[in-house]
Amino acid sequence: MNLQSISKGRLFWPLVALFLMVMVNFWFNPDFFSIKVVNNGLYGSVIDILNRAAPVMLIAMGMTLVIATRGIDISVGATVAISGAIAAALIGGSLEIKDGVQTYVSNTPMSLAILAALGVGLLCGLWNGFLVAGVGMQPIIATLILMVAGRGIAQLITGGQIVTIYYEPFFFFGNGFFLGVPFAIYLVAAVAVVLLLLVHRTALGLFVQAVGLNPTASRFSGISARALIFWVYGFCGVTAAVAGVIIASNVKSADGNNAGLMMELDAILAVALGGTSLDGGRFSLIGTLIGALILQTLSYAIYSLGVPPEINLVVKAIVVFVVCLIQSEALRNMLFQRRTRVEGQA
């Protein structure tokens, strides 16, 4: 079975949706594609969208694997808040003014702080994995626990305050440029390439699909479904932690209350828009990335077109609804093949 040829066909409609979203932006904002160089970095709407979509793209990739195993992880937003809070608390929350000059202090070495943040993300993920694979809880309930408790934990770490970070090197993750491109985009690309290689060049992709399609059958064929699910949740936690570090770095602060709020829904939506079925089994990482870009392009359009804030969510909902309809095979058949019966009802 060739996974690539399957995904190619399925990517067509998500790409169409993304193209339409981009065109809407271009229609209202002729400068949409213009890119210039400001402060050693590329500067333009397209760059913004890629940069802003980075956290959701990362989380959505982890989410894709979780969903492919018939699971779901609604705790990723809370994990974002926890990892951001840990990074901020460890790196430095005080501004020191010496002789009228603001100096940057870091409480713990930055590499250690980031490792700690990622480690805690992994722990959060493995906790979910343990509840789902070990205890046998339903994924939505299992991850609901951390979703609710996680924000409390993040608040505890930040002491209920917004912790401002005063350590310049840390800002690179969310604001820095490498060869003119925002660093966060490289992080996404790196995770995506590694994951695609793992999924397509090794048996891992097949295992994940098998577990999602039929856990019992996959167990009989020798796949350790429990261990696989355990680590897939762990990986999802890590992607959330990376996103948390990027977000904290981007705004130079950690906000236990609001960081990553509702992000789990954006990630799930990105997965769905990318053509992965929430029933598990077949999945498309590239589709997920496109899904995340569709969402961010849509938000960008809302900000720059002057949509009144009161109806933001309505506009978003309508567009998402239409995109989902476009992707629905059943609907297309209904429209184009006039009343011929759809076989096998998708």
């Binding site: 209920g160 917004i162 705004v251 209350n257 900000y303 720059s304 804030p309």
Partner: protein, 320 residues
Amino acid sequence: MLKSRRSLLSAIVMGLVAGAVAMPAFAADKKITLGFAQVGAESEWRAANTVSIKEAAKAAGIDLKFSDAQQKQENQIKAIRGYIAQKVDVISFAPVVTTGWDTVLKEAKAAKIPVVLTDRSVDTKDESLYVAMIASDFTEEGRKAGKWLLENYKTPGDVNIVELQGTVGSAPAIERKKGFEEVIKADPRFKITRSQTGDFTRAKGKEVMEAFLKADANINVLYAHNDDMAIGAIQAIEAAGKKPGKDIIVIGVDAVKGAFEAMMAGKMNVSIECNPQLGPQLMEVVKDIVAGKPVPRRIITKEGVFPMETAAKEFPNRKY
């Protein structure tokens, strides 16, 4: 049945309260007891608000019973019922939402315990359910922001203002917008060209400002409904290669510490204070109520305007 449930509740609340404030449960002489039901600890502003109330109570010699509702109305109602059962002298709370308070307030009234609202108002037809409200006037804050802009923006020509609104539908967002618009209407040069919500957060403020800057080359002024959004937007303005505070005038509301740091660095022009330190005013009102003196129904907190020139001098005094 109901009674035993209540006493159980009050026991729980008492336990919470005892944990929240380290204060002996049995005071020696007849101290005034105040039951305060706080919203939660959702922001720097709220944290400062809590500290102010606790410190002011201590200083005034008032026995404070404090509870944290974690942003949930049902928790606040439980706490208030607990205070009624404990027969405190005065109940005070900062309502999470505006509606749904009538029942519990009627219970307090039946128990003859006066209620003082802080910080936010409630929506009720029966005005007798509370005796006073101490709160900021958000509309006035918006007006102050507008006034500062009219008085200080001297460059001739049209002034294009972009606005970062607070959470859609929240009272501060609606009223700060209203007050600001009211004042700038007086001068046709000033126009709000773009307005979008930034949810009161740094991350959203930055994201929205980035999009504004790309879509619109002519932005002269940024008016943010709180300082956190302004701080996020300042980062976006810098990333666009412009100088916040000079190329784009930045106005925020709240006067939190972060805003003072930005003003000291010359990146923000003014912050309108929204004072969370209403503890001392609250304690005064509580004493007056217990002493049977008449109190005004609407008490406005004392609030200032801090332009960047005063930031360095004021910074050491900031508690939040």
